[in-house]
């Protein structure tokens, strides 16, 4: 019952007016960010970090703001899936399958309402799961020594490509690049300058927030211009909402199943929200069997993936908060936020910063309620904003991102770096090297090196310490499986995903 006490304390933090305000602002911004194709959740959160930073928000307020954005983005992703047949973010892909046909039948408002309810159930159940699982995992993680942590970091990189990852070597390359960028600067334990070339600005290393905004936001701008995507897309008109209690009851079991599956795939390394929504959808199709009209606009076909990806989004916070090891791009960006606020995630977070953690968890509950309330009556406003073409929006987003970076240190040099990272991001995306492992490498680099050093100091230079406990051997095994399995299973899962997508678009 200790947990319940903590949760109550958390609500005390989350329900003060300031926190509520940030939760609402975050929810609105997040929905917009999720809804706009191309401006993914990781991107959106990244742009907001320097702003939160330069405003001098407290760690709790910043984290409440950004987790609400994160939760909101998962809600928002469905809007463009249903109305445009284009997922706002990757996990919303499965929502297109039944959402768009429903919209074509003139039931766009119902599709949006049902998906909002399913999203709410998904997040709600998964947040309860987070409340139960996180303290247990945090306690367990206290047993981790440096060699276990080193193995855990390796595991995070190995599974980051996910079961659906295309080229494991490119993930590896991206991770190595990120870790290499992290090694620039004065070495913390020996004081030796590494790769600074006596440039004063590099002594403290490369600021990862600048890198994140450059890699995501600036490279996105370049892609938009290259693809002439400035005009936006045609969308289905929205009708007047006619939703009965029966419609809601019909999707309840579906949403519950989706929420649980989503949560599990969010917690597991390498699974993530995309797989969560895919598994939920496939399972639902099996459970309902021939009675359903999947692919032609079945409400259960919307509820399942939405509950799944929202469940996974909350589930993904479990490893990020308890172990300090994020499993997805967006949680990696949230981790960046924590690190720059001088809050060290990991098992100690739950004892040292109990207020913060539980405040954020409570804020997730509050944010979800806000999102549900926002998303049903105010859906029309979001849809209107969605029709602002990118040619007006992207330049403004770029300006806001740059001002955010500039206002942190008032130096033009930071902006030059941001643009430099933007160009690097563009090239990396052109050669299909994923960007998230680069970010993760930059974030985890210092910790990973530190745990390697600690382990080897303890063993007096004997490298076998890295494999000396059952736990670390287990972690290494999962890491190796995470690298090898996608080579075998990946093509099969991907083929299935695209098959079910094609079956509907044809």
């Amino acid at each position: 019952m200790e947990t319940l006490d903590f949760l109550m304390q958390g609500f005390a933090v989350a329900l003060i007016p300031e926190s509520l305000m940030f939760a609402i602002i975050g929810a609105i911004l997040g929905t917009l960010i999720g809804a706009l194709p191309g401006l993914g959740p990781a991107n959106g959160v990244a742009i907001l970090i320097p702003l939160a930073f330069s405003l001098g928000l407290s760690p709790t307020s910043s984290l409440i703001l950004l987790t609400s954005v994160y939760a909101g983005a998962m809600y928002g992703g469905r809007i463009s899936s249903i109305l445009l047949n284009i997922p706002g973010d990757e996990p919303a892909m499965m929502t297109c399958i039944d959402g768009y046909p429903m919209a074509l039948k003139g039931k766009a408002a119902e599709a949006l309402a049902i998906s909002a309810i399913a999203s709410f159930i998904g997040s709600f159940i998964a947040t309860i799961g987070l409340v139960i699982l996180a303290p247990i995992l945090a306690k367990f993680a206290l047993k981790f020594g440096p060699s276990e942590y080193f193995a855990l970091f390796a595991l995070a990189f190995a599974t980051l490509g996910g079961i659906t990852g295309k080229n494991q070597f490119k993930t590896l390359m991206a991770a190595a690049l990120g870790l290499m960028i992290a090694s620039v600067g004065i070495d913390i334990s020996s004081g030796v300058q590494r790769y600074t070339y006596n440039t004063l600005e590099l002594f403290e290393g490369v600021d990862f927030i600048i890198a994140i905004v450059g890699l995501f936001a600036i490279s996105e701008l370049l892609f938009f211009i290259e693809k002439h995507a400035g005009d936006g897309l045609k969308k289905v008109a929205i009708n007047k909402l006619k939703l009965t209690m029966g419609d809601i009851v019909k999707v309840l079991p579906t949403s519950l199943r989706g929420a649980l599956l989503g949560f599990v795939s969010g917690v597991l390394p390498g699974a993530g929200a995309s797989l969560g929504s895919f598994i939920s959808y496939t399972l639902e199709k099996k459970v309902v069997g021939d009675k359903g009209e999947f692919g032609k606009g079945d409400t259960r076909g919307i509820a399942a993936p939405e509950a799944g990806n929202n469940g996974a989004a909350s589930g993904a916070l479990v490893p990020m908060l308890t172990l300090g090891v994020p499993g997805s791009g967006t949680t990696a960006v949230l981790l960046a936020m924590l690190i720059s606020l001088n809050v060290t995630p990991g098992p100690m977070l739950f004892t040292q910063n109990a207020d913060l953690v539980w405040g954020v968890i409570a804020a997730l509950f509050v944010g979800n309620l806000v999102l549900l309330l926002l998303n049903i009556p105010m859906i029309g406003i979001f849809v209107k904003l969605l029709s602002v073409p990118p040619k007006y929006l992207m330049p403004i987003v770029t300006l806001v991102a740059s001002v955010g970076i500039y206002s942190v240190s008032h130096s033009a040099l930071d902006l030059y770096f941001m643009v430099g990272f933007g160009v690097i991001g563009y090239v990396l995306r052109k050669v299909d090297v994923p960007l998230v492992p680069v970010i993760l490498g930059m974030l985890l680099g210092p910790e990973m090196e530190k745990s390697l050093r600690h382990a080897l100091v303890l063993s007096d230079g004997d490298w076998s310490i890295l494999l000396n406990s059952g736990l670390s051997i287990g972690l290494w095994t999962v890491a190796i499986l995470g690298l090898v399995l996608p080579v075998i299973v990946g093509p099969m899962v991907r083929a299935k995903m695209s098959k079910s997508k094609e079956a509907t678009s044809s």
């Binding site: 080229n167 070597f169 020996s190 007006y392 643009v419 299909d432």
Partner: protein, 146 residues
């Protein structure tokens, strides 16, 4: 064509070698040799980067098309525009610099010139006012100070 991955792999291999070699040249830390010095981790990294670079050259994925020359020049012009904006914030002031960059970007993304200018001016002034007056983060006025 599978040239992209081969060329990029080659570049990364060079980077791996240079990075790893430089790591061996670090000065010995104060207090003498340790079992894990500042160079250990970088050397491991250079090995991983090198291995994946070699794999990339041996088994390249199909190419994604690069933009044609006019588009490439356009992208470069966009990059230069943001750099000029970054440079101009202090000497010229935030509003003139931001109007310039937003108008240019909107125009290059396909908005007509008049609309771009409206977006540029309104967003720059709005952001300036929000930052200076609401959020109290001073942005330089520059030329407008006179």
């Amino acid at each position: 064509m599978r040239l992209n991955d081969r060329v990029f792999g080659m570049l990364m291999l060079i980077l791996a070698v240079v990075y790893g070699w430089e790591a061996t040249q670090f000065p010995e830390p104060f207090g003498g040799e340790e079992s894990v010095g500042p160079e250990t981790f970088p050397i491991i990294l250079s090995f991983f980067l090198g291995a994946s670079a070699i794999y990339m050259m041996l088994k390249p994925d199909p190419d994604e098309a690069w933009p044609v020359l006019p588009m490439l020049l356009e992208l470069i012009s966009v990059v230069v525009a943001i750099l000029v904006f970054a440079w101009a914030i202090e000497p010229l002031g935030f509003i003139p610099a931001a109007v310039g960059v937003v108008t240019y970007l909107a125009w290059r993304m396909g908005a007509d010139l008049k609309m771009s200018l409206i977006i540029g001016v309104s967003s720059s002034v709005a952001i300036f006012l929000i930052f200076n007056n609401v959020l109290e983060l001073a942005l330089p006025l520059g030329l407008l100070e006179l």
